[in-house]
């Protein structure tokens, strides 16, 4: 009976979870490599315009030009090269904005959930106020205030999304704080800060890692939305959102300008999210 195939539901779930974890990680690794080696991989200069080569279709369509694999936009810029360079901005925003948001939000959440009292009251009230803002409008407003640019995007994402971490970590820290091991640590002579960082934090860490992965996907989307409304970085630099905005206006004449950056963005966001969900399953002791 040892060779019998595992057919119970749980192993099926695990196998599917494993596959999507690997697929997502694979796509994101590929993207990182492409972003890192963009100058060597990109077939063309992403900024080079040639009005005689405007709106060339991708290579398998009649009328394409060799070398422009995924066609060109209305200004004759190579779509593939712009997607490759756009990956740089998307990944920098995902990594930097995601991590900073995570650190700040988790810190507020830990403080509120562990210290309780007036600290919790102030932070919870702040979270309530933040939740009453429409996030997209808030981010657009912040970019208008800060001026376009990479740092503005990162600051806007941190300012808006810290509550995602704070809310969840606060609840987790509260639950952990009520457990016996925390009381024992206090009895054993650990200070409040020590208990928070050495006892509570490690137990909340899996949740934080999952949230961080999800947040990176959200950061990519926010950047795309801001470029879409033309508020991200300078309009010349290749961004996926900027390409999508251009593709949206010329979708009836040149579908490829919209489709290829959209597919890239879609897969990237899906990968971050599936990676997060997959990690959640891994960390979840019930499924393991």
């Amino acid at each position: 009976m040892a060779e019998a195939k595992p057919i119970d539901g749980r192993s099926l779930v695990r196998r599917r979870a494993g596959l999507r974890l690997w697929l997502s990680a694979g796509w994101l690794t590929l993207l990182c490599a492409v972003a890192l080696f963009a100058p060597w991989i990109a077939p063309k200069d992403p900024l080079a315009q040639d009005l005689f080569l405007g709106r060339l279709p991708p290579f398998w369509v009649q009328g394409s030009e060799s070398g422009y694999w995924l066609g060109t936009d209305s200004l004759g810029r190579d779509v593939l090269s712009r997607i490759i360079y756009g990956a740089r901005l998307a990944l920098i925003v995902a990594l930097v904005a995601g991590s900073v948001t995570c650190v700040i939000g988790a810190m507020f959440g830990l403080l509120a959930g562990f210290l309780r009292g007036w600290v919790d009251m102030v932070i919870s009230r702040l979270i309530d106020i933040w939740m009453a803002f429409p996030p997209v409008l808030f981010s657009i407003l912040l970019i208008a205030v800060l001026g376009p640019g990479l740092w503005s995007i990162i600051i806007a994402i941190v300012v808006i999304d810290w509550t995602r971490f704070a809310r969840v970590v606060r609840a987790e820290a509260m639950a952990q704080g009520a457990m016996d091991y925390v009381a024992s640590a206090r009895v054993a002579g650990r200070g409040r800060l020590g208990t928070m960082l050495r006892e509570i934090l490690p137990n909340v860490l899996p949740t934080i890692v999952v949230l961080l992965t999800l947040e990176m996907g959200i950061a990519v989307i926010v950047e795309a939305i801001l470029s879409f409304v033309n508020l991200s970085i300078s309009t010349d630099d290749p961004t996926w959102g900027g390409m999508i905005a251009e593709g949206r206006t010329s979708v009836h004449q040149a579908w490829w300008v919209l489709v290829f950056p959209l597919v890239t963005l879609f897969l990237t966001v899906l990968s971050f999210s599936q990676l997060g969900e997959g990690l959640k399953d891994r960390f979840d002791p019930v499924l393991r």
Binding site: F133, V136, L137, I140, V145, V229, L262
Partner: protein
Amino acid sequence: MPFLRILLLRLLTTAITLAGVAVIVFFVIRVVPGNPIAMMLPPGATEADIARLSALYGLDKPLVAQFGIWIAGVVQGDFGTSITTRQPVLDLVLGRLPATLELSIMALVMACLLGGAAALTGTRYRGGRTEGAIDVANGMALSVPDFLWGLVLILLFGVLVPVFHISGRVTPSLDLPFATNFYLFESLIRLRFDLWADIVAHMFMPALALAIPLAAIIGQLLKQSLKETMNLDYVTLARTKGYGETRVILREALRNAALPTLTLVGVQFTFLIGGTVIIERLFSYEGLGNMAIDAVINRDLPLIQGIVILFAVIFTGVNLIVDLLYTVLNPRLRHG
């Protein structure tokens, strides 16, 4: 805790939240570089012109005084005058609100129908391939936000198979007999089904894009609680009476499984309304969100303030209603 005390406490926290929103939005947008007055005057305007107009809009006073004047007006229902259109902010905002409300409610209905159908089908064929397929679809729908679904829909139903309109709220050449801005609702009341069909063809894709992520959440949660309910004794009893599986799910299980989902839908509805901002932009739909983005781009400070406050009122209002409904519906909380 008696109901009245809960109500008063929630009203108090809601008031604090709204006050916080007002303070933050007022001071954040005052940091905006670029003088909005200089932007609304023709290039030949003199310093004196700018000073006169600034005084007219109260922009020459200190910040705290400006805030005081603005808040005193807001409390009386006066949100100031838009700098770009020179119309009262309240009129502009209330003129666009119906468009956004209709879109949000249509999206909510779609989400409930899609999510409900997914949950019921998944429960009916649980443990099989159908349930697996529904789970995968739910996972996908949940992972990708409304903005990307909107773009995908534009490609599918706007370009590939052009059956719906990809921009606007109604075909501009149509003659509209409406007295209110609730086009969808009023076209039904007036029995103008030609107009109604045109409006739906415009709203379908933006509403669906907003609905997809929420439908996935509803589908997942409702299926989970349906499956738990299906193992309860009273459901087994109904089965032994010879009722078919579909009837047991629809008549017996659904009613008990729906409450946790309903509470969640309330909270998620505010996220959906927040999503209208970018979705309206994407589909050039003339609602509040689209106007908000234009207001930010044009540095129309009074208009931005008004729209943000209105959104905050809607969000906190929906949350308040959901909380109170939950207290009323859940006896454990009422008598606890």
